[in-house]
Symmetry: C2
Subunit: 339 residues, 2 copies
């Protein structure tokens, strides 16, 4: 009956989101209530479709960042962080709905995607509705700097999505180009989410810049790990199929590195599968092998650690405390996560 | 060589947009320049796709309303009406891009649609980018009431689009339901565009409500005529195929009236073509015949005149002058237009 636990694991508990979630716990119910109420509409299809994704057990990492950063910055004069956090989550949800249409995805967070259940058309339009609701919530809060941050983020995110679309199936994509894409499509909203915490608390540009940098680099690390997990994760933990990026011809860093480090035969393989879209049985396994051969996944995680380090240093100007500790632990979670 | 001109036509020149366009002429160049510059991006595909639609000779009716209403309200202390008008046009353009994806349209304004040229994916994402840019422009103007009006409109428009999607192929749609759809998907942006003119000029709720009502009813009339033209217009003037709504199973007022006024055989015809989507050669002609039999197009235009009348009366509180006259002439144009 004895279970062998390696000493290593016993000594170092796996980093997790728990410290962060514990801190925001009392605000989370209000956040979730607000999110559900703003997904309402007299048009039946809207709440049905929106709740399918909203209630599907996402990590709510972005709105949690807004709430935690607001708390760390000493915001206690009101509730404005809640609708701002909800607006961030809605912008994220709208992006996911549109993404799944663009990528023709069947699974998300372990569930059939909305576009399969209700159609691409409804997914596009309900995404637009959620963007409109996000915009309304921000206007109701009425902090011009917050509006400005989120308006900028909205345009940059869409720009990143278009960049990604244009880079699809293009094996000549460089690491810099890949970085520009994930900076726009992922890190910009993390940066906005964190900076909003400083803005709502009335902090100066010094704190705003620090949290912007924290969020931006955390977002880069998060996306890099995401892209590695697409080749190494488990379907059960991920809630989606392993190898989706491969089948879609999405050029992520593991691919960029493997291609650049590969020999002529290997490059021919990558071109056939990703550029020409000619994917055969066993190709995903072969791709994983080549990534292993060239340490592509390991080095993708290494890059993630690099951005995680920058995020950690960005926090230096804040006094030590449980919020700072939890936000730093969140970096560790994002880098070490398996889902 | 003699050309016979009917006395009627010679005496009553066709109502047109010219009076309105003449009044806003000096602002139009700045509007167009701003629109083109805000459709820019370092991501190639964005300006290409956006300009395809933006430069395709749309009437720019909505932003023109904002500018003309601002002028009528005596706004002369700045240029804020220009970016607000551009934001209105971008919201409209984003809706068109998403609409064409949802409706699978091939033609718009006499040109192949963006989704055919660059794909559905790019059309969805560039639409999102334009929404983001619209949002940014509004934030830069920084008038909270204007932001509130446009945020509301964004959510309502998307709601209307979803309602329309849910009503597609449903022959039991009532005239009230149809009205609710066009109120949301079309009239809400006309109402916002007109009201912004009063807001930017710092007018009170009295003028705001009047212009909101003018825009709302003008928008209803505009859409009703649009729906009639889809069965009676000429392809050359419309810039799209006659009968598109029919082929898409879109339930518009001409259909609602014909169905309700029809006998059992006719209702069976409408159910086969629109509900079951079983459209055969000659069905469009048969549909047009039935509409003629039941005065469905004529009565759709009659309804448009009704809303046009309300729009006209909404203008009563403004002093007579060339702006008021041009805005009223615009109602006549919208009701009498052939494209």
């Amino acid at each position: 009956m004895g279970v062998v636990v390696s000493l290593d694991k016993a000594r170092e508990p796996k980093p997790g989101l728990k410290p962060l979630l514990d801190l925001v716990d009392k605000d989370m119910k209000r956040l979730n209530d607000l999110i559900l109420s703003k997904a309402e509409s007299h048009v039946d299809m809207i709440p049905k479709l929106a709740r399918h994704l909203i209630s599907s057990g996402g990590k709510r990492l972005r709105p949690v960042l807004t709430i935690a950063c607001a708390q760390m910055c000493g915001y206690d004069s009101g509730d404005k962080h809640i609708p701002l956090a909800a607006a961030v989550e809605f912008m994220h949800t709208a992006t996911l709905l549109h993404d799944d249409v663009v990528d023709e995805s069947d699974m998300r967070r372990g569930k059939t995607t909305a576009r399969i259940l209700w159609g691409n058309e409804a997914s596009v339009l309900v995404g637009d509705y959620l963007l409109g609701q996000a915009f309304k919530m921000q206007v109701e809060v009425g902090i011009m700097d917050a509006l400005s941050i989120l308006a900028n983020a909205a345009a940059i995110i869409a720009e990143g999505e278009v960049m990604q679309l244009a880079a699809a199936n293009n094996m000549e994509t460089t690491e810099d180009e890949y970085l520009a894409i994930i900076h726009s499509k992922t890190a910009a909203l993390f940066a906005a989410a964190a900076e909003l915490g400083a803005v709502v608390a009335g902090k100066t540009e010094r704190e705003r810049a620090a949290l912007r940098s924290y969020g931006n680099n955390l977002g880069l690390a998060f996306q890099l790990v995401d892209d590695a997990l697409d080749y190494s994760g488990s379907k059960e933990l991920l809630g989606k199929n392993v190898g989706d990026d491969f089948r879609e011809g999405k050029i992520t860093l593991p691919i960029v590195l493997s291609y650049r480090r590969g020999n002529r035969d290997e490059r021919r393989f990558w071109k056939r599968t990703l550029q020409d879209g000619d994917v055969r049985d066993g190709d995903l396994e072969k791709a994983a092998e080549l990534m292993k051969k060239h340490d592509a996944l390991e080095d993708t995680i290494k890059r993630a650690r690099h951005y995680g380090d920058i995020a950690r240093d960005a926090m230096a100007l804040f006094p030590d405390g449980k919020h700072k500790a939890a936000l730093i632990e969140t970096i560790n979670f994002c880098v070490a996560r398996k889902h």
